[in-house]
């Protein structure tokens, strides 16, 4: 299973995270829901769904955090019977991204949290110096950009 990224600087840090933390799925996306990198997914439709759900969960958690605690919740963990989900905000020089990962008994929440911290550090140092593309996620461009990114990740670019 390989790691694919829309922007090449993300690929190294994400592949290292997957290798170190022993997770089965990993997804890095823009808060708008645009995918940036993935590991472990075999179908683009699954990536699309996971991105949409992760963006929605992150938006809900942020607002809930603001209501309850005066600041957004930036991390979320759900433990299922066999697999667990960890979702957190990754701040990079290119802006805040959302990170979603799924892991089983090969890993643990402690390991995932620890290696997520390293992933953020590695993304910070790997990010290119030039400014982030300033294009906002406009509704009219969203589907076109989403399809372009999915095509890049699944080799149909």
């Amino acid at each position: 299973m390989t790691t694919h990224a829309v922007e090449s600087w993300i690929e190294g840090p994400l592949a290292r995270f997957v290798d170190d933390a022993r997770v089965s799925l990993a997804l890095l996306l823009h808060p708008s829901g645009q995918v940036l990198a993935q590991h472990g997914f075999t179908r683009s439709v699954d990536v699309m769904s996971a991105c949409a759900l992760a963006a929605a969960i992150n938006a809900s958690a942020s607002e809930l955090g603001k209501m309850l605690d005066g600041r957004p919740f930036t991390g979320l963990h759900h433990a299922g019977e066999e697999r667990q989900v960890f979702l957190a905000e990754a701040r990079t020089p290119r802006g805040p991204y959302i990170f979603l990962t799924v892991f089983g008994s090969e890993s643990s929440l402690g390991l995932v949290r620890m290696y997520f911290g390293e992933l953020v550090t590695n993304l910070m140092s790997a990010a290119p110096a030039e400014a982030a593309p300033a294009a906002p996620a406009l509704a009219e461009n969203f589907e076109r950009d989403l399809n372009r990114n999915l095509a890049a990740l699944f080799g149909r670019a």
Partner: protein, 116 residues
């Protein structure tokens, strides 16, 4: 030091000569339940990695038909990491090289009975 049910146990272990950190860790989550650490020690990192190590050792012993793991000791250049577990909790103690590991071991095996 916290007021958790493990505070007294961890305090007794930390008073042993050469003990630099003692933690009770959830074996499956790799998260700290309670700990006594020195300033600057990254308890979360110790907990995550030690729990993973203990879990793998337990699985290896089981796979080899050796039964459960009572005590796990790892000698490193600048100290030792000792682990003992019960009921999905792992007692983790980090020591300097000059620690009396025999005494630490006895104290840990006694303390681990209190992990519920």
């Amino acid at each position: 030091m916290s007021g958790s049910p493990f505070a007294e146990m961890l305090g007794a272990l930390t008073r042993q000569r050469g003990v630099v950190a003692s933690l009770v860790v959830d074996e499956h989550e790799g998260m700290i339940v309670d700990a006594i650490l020195q300033f600057g020690q990254d308890g979360d990192r110790i907990a995550a990695l030690a729990a993973s190590l203990y879990r793998k050792a337990r699985q290896s012993a089981h796979a080899a038909g050796l039964g459960g793991v009572h005590f796990l000791q790892m000698d490193a250049e600048q100290g030792r990491l000792c682990m003992a577990g019960r009921n999905a909790l792992v007692l983790v103690v980090a020591t300097s090289p000059n620690a009396n590991v025999g005494l630490v071991r006895v104290e840990m095996l006694r303390a681990v009975e209190g992990l519920a």
